[in-house]
Amino acid sequence: MKMRRGGLRRLAASGIGFFLAAAWSPGAEPTPLPFTAGVMFDHMSRTVVWEGETETSRVAVNCVSLRAGFDLGRGVTLGLSAGLALSDFDALAFLDLPISLELGSSVLKGVALAAEIEAVLLDLGDFEIGAAGRVVSSFGLARTWTLEDFAVPGRAEGRTNWMEASAAPRLAYHLSGGFVPYLEVAARWFRVDVRMKETLEDLQDAEKKRIKGDFSLSASLGGDIRLSDRLVVRAKAGIVPHAGGAGVSASLGLLFAF
């Protein structure tokens, strides 16, 4: 389920296309949308160091969710979303179990819930200074594997819970009525635990890998593109630099205004 680089590139190209299309189309000043609802796709990858280890590893998450946005007035909007998260832990190994286990190409599913708030703090004509905060959490669904080729029946059960919180100042530019691109630099805090339980007949044990709190900064470009009075494309792409390898974040959504 890991997103291929070609897919990311197509995603970025699509985003740019939307930006340009919107930028070139004349439009009126954006009017507040009291309520929006739609579907979002989010991808996030970051380089991490698991507790007790020294080498870097990667975590990648793809999430499909339903999103509802509420205009609270005074430039403040609240977004709530719920969906399915697929977490890829890049060959994370559980070496303290009696039989060491390694997550190969397996992904772990979870129910993702997110809350996001955006606010315009300062209007400077064509420019706008704002802030955005987001908390997303995935509550893991158990996944089981049958352990084959052993002399006794065996199974493994994995589950992950993770949470990411981010806060960002945002600089937006009124490029046109239908498109206000923005640049944001976010502080991101991430915690995750992955539990793995192993059972080989009467040989049982469990191990938990975790990151108590990984802090990083990201830089992103994004914007809401109004394709019509009721149709909004929401796109954002950024990088999450880290010693040992940069991660990326990207989101793309289609929202309907009511």
Binding site: R5, R9, P98, I99, L101, W145, V152
Partner: protein
């Protein structure tokens, strides 16, 4: 301890402890070529292989163009980047390039990935040979550790055809661990030749001699030297054989006289002593026919101290000997051969836990035993030879996962075994228990897909 020392000599009959020699002695062969050559001595010996290297090359990347990019255009583009060298793998349409001078891999990859004509660009990861020891006789004679299905050329008369992979998968397991020098295997046997070139650096002390009541467990037979070497011979030292547990140490404990016989009381004492000395694993290629509660109590003492005991089932094609038969505390080890078939001499019964190769096993022997002019190694067969494979494996598991107790290590060894006789006895059976041990399955991570 005092109680045992006082009571044992009076309560227990002086039960003769039989070393499992019935199969070993007749088949022991001096390692000398029929023509008298010692060709293996003259073979080139490479230095130790590096254990770990950086994951990816620091000056190479792999890339592939999109399928619709013309070849000429691709070549021109690669030239424009100024790479130090370009090599194409035509069948896959992949280019291997050396990065431009002064430009790192990360920078090169980032640059390539920005190019929409390039479908993928990735690091050129390093490879290395599997951890293969450079010991002289490993490749040619130690089928027990890695069997390539060749002819085992022991002598003019003994040249069995072996079956590929009828081995304990040691070579691939050594990529995971080669053992911790802090992990000690007590070899309770006829003693150990502590001057042997494949053992001198491996013994932690001169041990204890319960037959003569002193602190010098020098081997006056050959059996203990042989079993100690199978378990943990000095490995990757450019000579001799490879042991199962490369880096683990040996604690010699002598419980037989020069004729290879001893008493339960010596073995009981030895188990307790080795446990108190901090042994992690005990190899018992000795045993007897009598069930004795004190011997069982000694095994329990070791087990309760998280010491893994591997013991030979015996070579009479009869009932499992003691202490191997103490199922709760001891791993009873049967013998298989170079074709993964049960050795015809191997004892059997419900107590058998696992099997390991025990036919024509090459191991060290005292120089005085093989005679001047011969190399200090010999082939021997028996469950005595099978047992130290299991002891070595237990030591490697303890090295890799020091938090595991004896019970867990014993279960890992059982449950990861290969059921090599499943065509006749599917599942656990009385001949090889759960099967022939498989070190790779026990030590390498299982990939969840």
């Amino acid at each position: 301890m005092k109680f045992l020392r006082k009571v044992l000599p009076t309560v227990l009959p002086a039960v003769l402890v039989l070393l499992f020699l019935s199969r070993c002695a007749p088949e022991g062969q001096d390692l000398q070529r029929p023509d008298g050559r010692q060709a293996t001595r003259s073979l080139r010996v490479e230095g130790p292989l590096p254990a770990r290297q950086p994951l990816a090359a620091s000056d190479r990347v792999l890339l592939r163009f999109r399928s619709d990019v013309p070849e000429e255009y691709a070549d021109g583009l690669l030239q424009s980047y100024g790479f130090a060298a370009v090599r194409k793998i035509p069948r896959l349409g992949v280019f291997s390039v050396r990065t431009s001078p002064g430009v790192g891999v990360d920078e090169t990859l980032a640059m390539l990935r920005r190019n929409p004509d390039i479908a993928e660009a990735r690091p050129d990861y390093r490879t290395r040979l599997a951890a293969t020891p450079n010991d002289s006789y490993f490749s040619q004679y130690q089928y027990n550790l890695r069997n390539r299905g060749t002819i085992l050329d022991i002598s003019d008369d003994i040249q069995p055809q072996t079956t590929a992979d009828a081995d304990i998968k040691a070579a691939t397991a050594w990529d995971i661990t080669q053992g911790d020098p802090e992990v000690i295997i007590a070899v309770i046997d006829s003693g150990v030749d502590m001057t042997h070139p494949d053992l001198a650096a491996k013994v932690v002390s001169s041990g204890r001699d319960f037959a003569n009541g002193d602190d010098d467990a020098t081997d006056d037979h050959w059996h203990g030297t042989h079993t100690a070497g199978i378990a943990a011979a000095d490995t990757n030292n450019g000579e001799g054989i490879a042991g199962v547990a490369w880096n683990c140490k040996i604690l010699p404990v002598k419980v037989t006289e020069a004729d290879g016989t001893g008493y339960y009381s010596w073995t009981i004492d030895a188990i307790i002593w080795a446990t108190d000395q901090g042994a992690d694993v005990i190899n018992l290629s000795v045993g007897g026919d009598a069930d004795d509660p004190v011997l069982e109590e000694a095994c329990k003492y070791a087990f309760d101290h998280d010491v893994v005991i591997a013991a030979a089932t015996g070579n009479e094609a009869g009932a499992v000997a003691y202490p191997a038969a103490y199922d709760d505390y001891v791993l009873a080890v049967a013998a298989t051969d170079y074709n993964d078939e049960v050795a015809d001499f191997s004892n059997y019964g419900p107590e058998v836990d696992v099997a390991a190769p025990g036919v024509y096993i090459l191991g060290p022997a005292p120089q005085w035993y093989v005679g001047e002019g011969n190399l200090p190694y010999l082939f021997a067969s028996g469950t005595s030879e099978a047992t130290p494979h299991v002891a070595g494996m237990a030591a490697l598991i303890r090295s890799l996962k020091p938090g595991l107790g004896a019970s867990e290590i014993m279960k890992i060894i059982r449950y990861t075994a290969d059921d090599v006789n499943q065509s006749t006895f599917s599942g656990r059976d009385d001949h090889i228990g759960f099967g022939r041990i498989n070190m790779r399955r026990a030590l390498a991570p299982y990939i969840l897909k």
